[in-house]
Structure formats: C-alpha cells, structure tokens
C-alpha cells in the first residue's frame, strides 16, 4: 500500500519543466535507436540487417528464435549461400540455402533455386504460382552470422501482443515516477 501512495504522490508532484526534460530524453533515446538501425541498414546494404528465424526448416543449424545477421554485396549469388528472400505478395522473409544457380552470360541475371536444410523438397512450392526460380531482386541478403535464442523476445512480442502493451505500460510508468 505504501508503494501505491508513493507513486500517487510522485505523480502529483510533477513539474512541467521536469516532465518536458524527461519527454525530450525519451525522444533522444528513441531517435538514437533509429539512427543506429538506419546506419546498420547502410553498412550491411540490406533493408533488414537482422532477422529472426521463424520456422524449423533450417534445423539443426538455425532453430526458431535465433537471430541472423545479414549482409548484401554486389557479389553474385552462389550455391551454398544462405539467403533471405521475400516471395512476391508475402511479407514474411524466408531463410533458406541456394542449391541451384544459373547465371546468364553478360547480363548477370541469375536464376536461383532454394531449399531449407531440414526440408525434404525444394522451395518451388513456396514461390508464387508459375514461378520456378528466384531472381536477384527477391533476395534481401545473405546470412553471415548468428546468435542463438535472442530472437525469442521478438517472437513472444508478436505472438502475444498483450505482453508488448504491458512492457510499454511498465516502461512508461517507470519513466514518469523516476526522480531523475
């Protein structure tokens, strides 16, 4: 009970200047996070420098909940590379390995077929109707490094949004009631 009383007291005693300072500090933290994210996008050359593995199709190498670091260079796609791609019309990125590559003379146009390590069949069933190959513009990046388990935070927050709201609510309360 004493804790609730303290919280109510501290909310009542807020001064405008202090509130504004705290709001600006919060704004600075959010913008720095955004700057770091955009800088990462520039350095790695891809729109999503970090992705979370959502399915078990690359086990035992990548399990659900691992995060992958992506990098995209102008180097041509070669067999064996783990690529992250979007199928036309779907926005969930898929992380699989390129098993067949056919590169045209001169134009650099490339046809790529992918397959998940743990799947029995290749990905033709995942591509759009009538599509048999992936092209360069489908591929968002190559996986170059990974960290295990860290992605579970993102999976939990997207599958149970209530946890996201609780977390933001608690953070908001902490910011308002802290004395610095």
């Amino acid at each position: 009970m004493g804790w609730i009383g303290e919280t109510v007291d501290s909310i009542k005693s807020i001064k405008i200047r202090q509130l504004l300072t705290q709001a600006i500090t919060l704004g600075m933290i959010v913008t720095s996070a955004l700057i770091i994210w955009k800088a990462l996008m520039c350095v790695t050359g891809t729109e999503s420098p970090v992705v979370v593995v959502l399915s078990g199709s690359m086990e035992p190498g990548f399990k659900r909940g691992d995060i992958l670091f992506l990098h995209m260079t102008k180097e041509p796609i070669r067999a064996g590379e783990i690529v992250v791609f979007n199928v036309d019309g779907r926005d969930i990125p898929i992380v699989h390995r390129a098993i067949k590559v056919h590169e045209r003379e001169n134009t650099g146009h490339v046809d790529v077929l992918t397959k998940g390590d743990n799947n029995d069949v290749d990905d033709i069933g995942l591509y759009a109707d009538g599509q048999f190959w992936l092209h360069r513009h489908h591929i968002m990046g190559r996986a170059v490094g990974f960290l295990p388990y860290v992605g579970w935070v993102t999976i939990i927050m997207s599958e149970k949004p209530i946890i996201k709201y609780i977390l933001i609510g608690a953070l908001g309360l902490l910011v308002i009631t802290s004395k610095d």
């Binding site: 035992p60 190498g61 990548f62 041509p76 070669r78 067999a79 064996g80 590379e81 783990i82 390995r97 098993i99 067949k100 590559v101 056919h102 590169e103 045209r104 003379e105 001169n106 046809d111 390590d117 290749d122 996986a143 170059v144 490094g145 990974f146 960290l147 295990p148």
Partner: protein, 167 residues
C-alpha cells in the same frame, strides 16, 4: 540510488554486456583454427542421360564421395553443412551450379566419411547443352557456429565429362 530496481538494472546490463562479449570472443577464436580438409569424388556410373519432354537435359549419376572434414570442427562449431555441386558453363549461362548431394555433419566423429549414392537432387540443365560437357565437381562446406560468424569454403575437382550421346 541503492534500491532493488537500480541494482537489478545494473546487474542485468552487466550480464548482457558480458554475454555479448563472450559470444564475440568465441566467434573471433574461430579465425585461429588450422583447417586442412580433403576430399575425393569419383563418378562410378552414369545411370541415364536423357532429354526431358520439356526440352531440358537431365542426367543421373552414381557418385563415390570420400572426405575428411574433421579439421573444420572447433569448439565453437555446431554443425558443418557439406554439399557437392556440379559446375559448368554453357553458351547461354556463364555459370551453372547444380547441387547433387548434401549432408549435415553434426559432430567431428562423423566428418570423416565415405559414401556411395546416386544424386539426391536432379541434375537438370536450362536447355540441352550437356552432351560431351566438361564439368567440375566441387565439395562446398559451410561451418555453422554455436555463435557468431559463419565460414564457407570449397575444394574444386575438375576433369569430369558427360558422355557425348544420350543413353
């Protein structure tokens, strides 16, 4: 300043920083391993070689693959993904890479192996250029770590040739 919340926060930040540092060091240590893998591939038999109804050549081979990939395993290795690809050039395509077989090697003990199989994935050309074609068989491997940077490399074996006529 000395409340439970502050101490908890400081502890958590410190723990996460140390964990991230350890992952980075573990990954960095992979640069110092001395890797001497070896492999040999023999084509035992061309099972059949046909032109498919839709116009593309397809060939089925039986391969004999011997490899020793034990030196690729470090303490930070979770698995090694090995695959054999046929690589060749045609007039239409400057490079074709077709994976014929792959395997996941989870432990060092399994990394020295001898296997005789027919191709796991279909060897189909884009077109009908395979008669009399010279091609390389390349053993690629991809070292997937417990944390950090992944390494990939390959051994190229050349001198293979497909027959001049369908059979």
């Amino acid at each position: 300043m000395h409340s439970f919340g502050y101490r908890g926060n400081a502890l958590l930040t410190f723990a996460v920083t140390i964990l991230a540092f350890m992952c980075a060091i573990a990954s960095f240590s992979d640069n110092f391993s001395n890797q001497t893998p070896s492999a040999q591939i023999q084509i035992l038999n061309i099972n059949w070689f046909q032109k498919q109804p839709h116009g593309n050549d397809e060939v089925s081979l039986t391969l004999n693959i011997t490899a020793d990939l034990q030196s690729l395993f470090t303490w930070n290795t979770k698995q090694v993904f090995a695959f054999v690809a046929a690589e060749y050039k045609t007039s239409k395509n400057s490079l074709n890479q077709v994976s014929l077989w792959d395997a996941i090697i989870p432990e060092k003990e399994h990394a020295k192996f001898w296997i005789q199989i027919s191709n796991k994935y279909r060897f189909i050309d884009q077109g009908y250029n395979l008669r009399g074609k010279d091609f390389n068989l390349t053993l690629h491997w991809h070292v997937m770590p417990k944390t950090g940077k992944m390494f990939a490399d390959k051994i190229v074996m050349s001198g293979y040739r497909l027959p001049d006529a369908y059979r």
